[in-house]
């Protein structure tokens, strides 16, 4: 099977209007387009939620990055700002024949530089292996296959998000701006070399984190928080059975009741409080690529 050719890449920022890393990177690329130009494919840039960017909030009516389920895009009854915007974006990327999407995000959790894959497409896994090889900061997170694809990046089979943090909402963080720019440039280089059929250095074996489930805060009958996340909990660090997970306002520790070690991510993500998510649990999995994997 020949290597997969990528002809057009969309780089998207401002899917959440208060995640300024992506917003200002897109503005920079729009001013200095040579930074994202490569020889054998085209790129386009997009501010996904301009109204939310303007007022520096996550969204106007509803979270844009949950509006891309195929049936929702077809549903004429969904007409609020983000629902309409999702339809426009889907149509635009389809018309432009975009076959690879990179969506730029930041998290208030200490996620470092995380590449989020929606699926286990073999091209994406090879790219993940490449990034793990050339960039020691990169972690690979794979969303559950059970989830319906509702993310902007799920408009293509080849879609990913770059999620950096901790970056507070509304903050332009220079360090993570530069890290995002670097890993984005590494992705574009990989695509260019892949298009030319050039073999690229890849560890045959690397780790990914697979999303298992989300955990809400302990709450009382009124839905009020009864506890905060235990200060020991860190993104991508092992959480062992019976070790502290929450610290109650009454001083009592609440421990993790699972049977096996997991790795929390999105720990205390500000935007997930309203989604009743204190953290997401993942398992660490070793991926081993065969030499002809995906080719």
């Amino acid at each position: 099977m020949p290597h997969q050719l990528i002809k057009k890449v969309a780089i998207v920022g401002g899917t959440h209007g208060n995640e300024l890393t992506g917003v200002y990177l897109i503005k920079k690329f729009q001013k200095f387009p040579h930074l994202i130009e490569r020889e054998n494919f085209n790129t386009l840039t997009l501010i996904a939620n301009p109204k939310a960017v303007e007022v520096c909030i996550r969204y106007i009516d509803t979270d844009l990055n949950r509006c891309f389920q195929p049936e929702d895009l077809q549903n004429p009854k969904l007409i609020n700002y983000e629902q309409m915007r999702a339809k426009q974006i889907a149509q635009y990327l389809h018309q432009e024949k975009v076959d690879f999407i990179i969506d730029l995000h930041s998290s208030t959790a200490h996620m470092g530089v995380t590449i989020i894959l929606n699926n286990d497409n073999c091209f994406l896994l090879r790219l993940a292996g490449y990034l793990s090889t050339v960039n020691p900061l990169v972690k690979i997170l794979q969303y559950s296959q059970k989830q319906k694809p509702s993310y902007l990046r799920s408009l293509c089979e080849l879609g990913l998000a770059i999620e950096v943090g901790s970056v507070p909402q509304g903050v332009l963080n220079g360090y993570f701006f530069l890290q995002t720019e670097l890993v984005l440039s590494q992705i574009l280089d990989y695509i260019q070399n892949n298009n030319q059929g050039i073999k690229q250095p890849i560890y045959n074996s690397f780790f990914i984190y697979k999303q298992l489930e989300t955990i809400d805060y302990p709450r009382d009958e009124q839905g009020e928080l009864k506890a905060m996340i235990a200060p020991q909990i860190k993104d991508y660090e092992p959480l062992y059975p019976n070790s502290p997970m929450f610290l109650g306002f009454d001083g009592q520790e609440i421990s993790y009741q699972g049977n096996s070690t997991c790795y929390p991510v999105f720990v205390a993500e500000a935007a997930y409080l309203e989604k009743q998510i204190a953290m997401c649990l993942t398992i660490q999995q070793q991926v081993t690529l065969s030499d002809d994997f995906g080719e």
Copy 2:
């Protein structure tokens, strides 16, 4: 001169509705009031901006913590939500004869545990010396005397803020929750011992940071940012003349033009982007207390 007696202390959270450290500490104290009870003075607790807390935003109409100028409190034309709320709070704390205010805040800047004093009242400076002695994490920040007092804490001569960070807006951070609770408890202990005339251990000499000026981001003619804060800039670390201060989106560094070393604080505070503040500059100053200072 006898030591100053404190009879009633107000502990305030939620002056900014998305700074959850203070909000949840106040809720905890309201549920477990013995935690803030002391022998020889009374305490009261207050959620300053309940409407903003409810929707987890900084404010509804205007920043509550800029509404406490005496002339504004007297001005019948100022009737938006926070302006009215400021008048209610001022009246309430006056009726209750509160003579010490502790206002709980968090910042998206890496401020650690900062005690902010509005003035150089000698009682506050002795307390600052005490906290510097018993708590190695504490830094003391003194606001400019030139500024008009518009903060909630400026309703009393004896007022301070505890400002912790980095805590993203909308995040309940366990580590800084516990640190705030600790330093608050140390302040209450100091007040109790002071009321009893007990001498407390104080280094005679400690550092404070005095606010000099605020610095905006470099902007173009349309007011758009042209640069981000240079990643080297850290809160409370020295910024030398001609060293990098901003990094332009065109790749050019913009250096600090001042003549003497300063110490930036509130570096990339999310809430200050709209106030056109990228950071505040301070000078480091050694305070030496004489043995009978303030007594």
